[in-house]
Each structure stands twice: as structure tokens, then as C-alpha cells.
């Protein structure tokens, strides 16, 4: 059952990657990469259960933190043109 869930999440990641590659605007790409990161967190957790190594959940937690910070940083850069240096 974990294998089926893993395969479904991988299929969703493939579909999301299509939008990340051919999205017309930069916001489409950022949105697709954000969803891709969420699916990656779920895939890491499921792989931990599949391999019988629950330590993978720590990696999933760290990846969730990094995904959020990366999305907000990319959005701030494309909204303001810089990351907040002194003018």
C-alpha cells in the first residue's frame, strides 16, 4: 500500500513538472515548484515507511522548512527586484 501511494505521488510530481517547464509566467513556475516541494516532502516520508527507516521523517521536516523559505525568497525577489538591501 505504501508502494501504491509512492507511485501516485510520483505521478503527481511528473504532472507538476510539466507545468514547471512550460508555465508561461514566472508565477506559474514558482507555484509548480512549491507544489513539487510539498509532494517531495510526502514522498520522502512515504519512502521512509517503505524502507522501514522512520529517520527519513527528519529529512521530510527539514525539506518542508526549506521549501517554504525558498518559495517566499523567490517571490520577494520577483516582486521587488531585490532581496531587501539598503537603497
Amino acid at each position: 500500500m505504501m508502494l501504491l501511494a509512492c507511485l501516485l505521488v510520483v505521478l503527481g510530481m511528473a504532472l507538476t513538472l510539466i507545468r514547471a517547464v512550460r508555465g508561461p509566467t514566472v508565477y506559474d513556475r514558482i507555484l509548480a515548484v512549491n507544489v513539487y516541494g510539498t509532494m517531495t516532502v510526502m514522498l520522502i516520508a512515504l519512502l521512509g515507511f517503505l524502507a522501514g527507516r522512520p529517520d527519513f521523517l527528519d529529512l521530510a521536516l527539514v525539506y518542508a522548512l526549506l521549501n517554504f523559505v525558498g518559495t517566499l525568497a523567490a517571490l520577494k525577489f520577483f516582486k521587488h527586484g531585490h532581496l531587501g538591501e539598503e537603497r
Binding site: 501516485l8 508561461p24 507555484l31 507544489v35 516520508a45 517566499l72
Partner: protein, 117 residues
């Protein structure tokens, strides 16, 4: 009892994975950014919650469940924040919520061999 927990966990995992696939389909097929945000929310809330719940049923009461709940709480707070920031940035960036998106025959730069519509 054990079998019932296994069946419930299997149903939750299958539903969560299916929601992930539906979210990917929506990202591919919906017309513009603001419509695609709905599909993204599907993966961020429904798919993640169902998958985490299914895995928690498999793990039982242990430290693994605590970590799963931590991941769930974190996604619960960050997904709406990221979605709102993205919608605001797209609106400020001059994208209209009314446009119908790209039609199939004017992909400007991604596909040099324009497949005729």
C-alpha cells in the same frame, strides 16, 4: 482490530495519493495562475493531510507519530501563507485574473515547432 486499522490506513493513503494526482492534473489543465492556485491548494491541504493520517495509522503511538503531526502542523501554517503571497505577487505583477491563459497555438518560446491548432 489490526486488520481494520490496516484497511483504514490503506484507504487514506490511496485517497491522498489520488488527490496528489488530481492536483497535478489541475496544474496542467487549468487556464491561468489564479485558477492553478486552487489545484495547488488541493495538494497542500487534502493530499498531505490524508497521507499523513494514513502514515500515522501505520506508525501507532510513537515518536514517529509526533514527527508526522509536526510536519502536518507546519504545512497547515505555511501552505496558506505561500499561496496568499503568490497570489498577491501575481496580482502586483500585472497578471489579470480574467485572462483565459495561453491558447494552444501561440506558445511563444517554449516549443519552436508550433503544433498547428
Amino acid at each position: 482490530m489490526n486488520l481494520a486499522i490496516d484497511i483504514a490506513s490503506w484507504l487514506l493513503l490511496a485517497a491522498g495519493g489520488s488527490l496528489m494526482v488530481v492536483s497535478g492534473l489541475g496544474l496542467v489543465r487549468l487556464p491561468n495562475v489564479f485558477a492553478r492556485l486552487h489545484a495547488a491548494g488541493l495538494a497542500d491541504t487534502g493530499g498531505s493531510a490524508l497521507l499523513l493520517l494514513g502514515m500515522a495509522l501505520q506508525a501507532g503511538w510513537s515518536l514517529v507519530t509526533v514527527k508526522l503531526v509536526l510536519i502536518g502542523i507546519f504545512l497547515f501554517f505555511t501552505a496558506p501563507t505561500a499561496g496568499h503571497a503568490l497570489a498577491h505577487a501575481a496580482l502586483l505583477g500585472g497578471i489579470s485574473p480574467d485572462d483565459k491563459g495561453e491558447s494552444e497555438d501561440d506558445d511563444e518560446d517554449d516549443s519552436p515547432d508550433g503544433r498547428g491548432g
